[in-house]
């Protein structure tokens, strides 16, 4: 199967987040847990659903990634992971942490 991570938006501020180890949600894609098998994806999804029921996040879904550095496959997900392509001064791409990770 395609490798994937679980993504959602945080309920409180709407920020794009990814499921990381121990059920933690991170704003940074490189910290996300990667499901390599269908069984793993299903297990991650279960954790995410609990988190959604607990009102931490909304709109969970699996998102395919590729490459060692976890690049999203679709344009939509690349924009979610960085920010608007028309305003590179806004969104995750504008935060100091983003540059450090690149």
């Amino acid at each position: 199967m395609t490798r994937q991570v679980i993504t959602a938006n945080r309920l409180r501020d709407g920020d794009v987040v990814y499921l990381a180890e121990n059920g933690r949600w991170t704003p940074w894609l490189d910290e996300a847990s990667v499901a390599e098998t269908a069984a793993e994806a299903e297990a991650f999804m279960k954790i995410a659903e609990e988190s959604e029921a607990a009102c931490d996040v909304i709109g969970i879904y699996g998102m395919p990634v590729e490459g060692e550095r976890l690049e999203p496959v679709s344009t939509r997900e690349r924009i979610r992971a960085k920010g608007p392509t028309t305003r590179t001064d806004l969104g995750k791409q504008a935060e100091p942490d983003f540059a450090k990770r690149a």
Partner: protein, 551 residues
């Protein structure tokens, strides 16, 4: 301008408190997202790609200086220093926290604004001609009736859970600047044979997946019957509109499936029960609202202002701006000043907090404190003395707001697209930016003349692509952005839906394709023809040939 009385203030205050409670209940988990979603949407709050987005209503596109200053303040306090003016004369903020929204709404309420019914399956913010009250050709100021409809539709108990969203537009002039033929209900003011003013009622227009031009169901409706007739239309729709299929739920599908004639009969039958009842609009109610839209205290001026004419003669850049951005005002010595939000390389409709403040100051000093938002995503200073126009232009230029392109090819209508929107399939803003760069030379723009490009990032058509002279629709082909092009659309009196020219173009080819279309028009046009005239004369063939066969 309309001003709230104690009732209106109380309503928005209570609505803010109600929404504050809803947010608290959502955060506590008392409301599921499925239950909360329609509630937040009814208050204009979306979850987009990066954050929450709030759509604030600018009723029929009219704002005061004070309100625009508050919009700027909100952009700084809760967002990232800018806002986006939309094709429905509203403004959107893109980077909000859910928890902040009730406070933001309270700030809005302090300047008589709100976000009520800017989304959701209810009657949306009513739109109107941006030149209402100042154009010489109008029968009556449409804002009087738009305000009456705004009040009637606010928290309407019967029509808050319609099959789908519902948009009403009103124009008071024969020249349709409000795109009434592509709304669920379009109201066009007319005079009957006795000379009385009333409305032609058009129903079932719309864009989106199934673009349809509205049908006239009543050639003349007296003003006193406005609300009872609207209620009859809405009731028929609420009862019979489809609820089993999201894509077939708009009123246009109902009108299409039963036929305009049968639909009219159903409305008229329902109206027999409602007319002459509690919804009848007495003349004094209309007069009460009309008084708010009385003309400001214009000075008696000469129609010709030598100093203004001299500046136009001396300063070529100013003169070019005047040529496109001024419109005739009904009062001698005044002009309508259009402010383009389509500067080269910028996102169409975006304005920074600083720009909003500049415009608010100019409106205060030179336009009786009043301004307008247009459905083409620009701003308007409706009452500027010709003698002041040069100073206004200079101030606009200093703020990066003096683009001289109103109505020209770079004055695109563009939805936020995939850079922000959760529904989009492709980006829109970068395409608009490329077009603005490719056609930047003003001489060339003037040579091309009246050409409206409209760009949507998905089939929902927020960028009105179906009614662009050239329309671009972003589509997703296996993860790549492609753009389908339509030609010959028109949102005005002779409204038409554009024809698809052929297979979609890859992102890097889309603007080349637009240029090919423009060049084909320039080569084929006959004396004085606009793009639309040439297209209507020649049809798709020559454009198709140049776009596809020549390669």
């Amino acid at each position: 301008m309309y001003q709230y009385d104690a009732y209106d203030h109380r309503l928005v205050r209570e609505r803010v408190a109600q929404f504050r409670g809803q947010v608290v209940r959502r955060l506590k988990g008392d409301l599921t997202e499925e239950e909360f979603r329609p509630l937040r949407l009814m208050n204009g709050l979306y979850l987009q790609l990066h954050a929450y987005m709030l759509r604030v209503a600018v009723p029929y596109g009219t704002l005061s200086s004070e309100q625009l200053r508050m919009l700027a303040r909100i952009a700084r306090k809760y967002d990232k220093g800018y806002g986006h003016f939309t094709t429905r004369q509203n403004i959107q903020y893109n980077w909000l926290n859910l928890e902040d929204v009730p406070d933001l709404l309270a700030d809005l309420a302090s300047v008589e604004m709100h976000a009520i019914q800017t989304s959701g399956n209810c009657i949306r913010n009513v739109t109107a001609d941006q030149y209402a009250g100042v154009s010489a050709d109008e029968i009556e100021d449409p804002r009087i009736y738009a305000e009456i409809i705004r009040q009637w539709s606010t928290l309407h108990p019967e029509f808050s859970f319609l099959p789908r969203k519902f948009k009403i537009a009103v124009t008071g002039a024969p020249k349709d600047r409000a795109a009434v033929r592509v709304h669920d209900i379009g109201l066009q003011m007319r005079r009957n044979e006795k000379g009385e003013a009333g409305f032609e009622v058009l129903v079932g227009g719309g864009l989106g997946r199934t673009p349809i031009i509205a049908k006239t169901i009543r050639p003349f409706l007296p003003k006193r019957d406005l609300l009872s007739y609207l209620e009859a239309i809405l009731r028929v729709y609420n009862q019979l509109g489809r609820r089993d299929n999201l894509h077939k739920a708009r009123i246009k599908i109902l009108v299409q499936s039963v036929g305009a004639e049968r639909f009219t009969e159903m409305v008229e039958a329902e109206w027999q029960h409602l007319r002459d009842g509690a919804l009848e609009l007495p003349a004094e109610t209309i007069a009460h609202i009309r008084a708010f839209f009385a003309a400001p205290a214009y000075e008696t001026l000469e129609a010709k202002v030598p100093a203004f004419e001299a500046k136009r003669f001396e300063d070529r850049v100013f003169s070019e701006w005047c040529r496109t951005n001024l419109a005739p005002h009904k009062v001698p010595g005044y002009a309508i000043v259009n402010i383009s939000l389509k500067a080269t390389g910028e996102a169409p409709g975006d304005a920074s907090a600083e720009q909003m403040e500049t415009v608010a100051d100019l409106a205060e000093r030179h336009s009786f404190g009043e301004l307008r938002v247009t459905h083409a995503q620009n701003l308007v200073l409706p009452h500027v003395k010709l003698a002041d126009v040069f100073a206004v232009w200079q101030a606009l230029a200093a703020a990066g707001l003096a683009s001289a392109n109103i109505g020209l090819i770079t004055d695109t209508i563009t939805c936020p697209g995939l850079d922000y929107c959760n529904l989009a399939n492709a980006r829109s803003i970068p395409v608009a930016q490329q077009i603005s760069e490719r056609f930047e030379a003003l001489e060339r723009q003037h040579d091309i003349g009246d050409l409206k490009i409209k760009i949507s990032g998905c089939i929902n058509a927020c960028g009105h692509h179906h009614v662009g002279h050239i329309g671009l629709l972003g589509v997703d082909k296996k993860g790549e952005e492609f753009y389908q092009i339509t030609l010959g659309g028109d949102a005005e009196e002779k409204a038409s839906i554009g024809d698809i020219v052929g297979p979609a173009f890859a992102r890097e080819k889309a603007v080349d394709a637009v240029e090919t279309i423009v060049e084909t028009y320039l080569a084929r046009r006959q004396n004085g023809e606009r793009f639309l005239d040439t297209y209507r004369r020649l049809g798709l063939a020559p454009f198709k040939e140049q776009l596809y066969d020549a390669r």
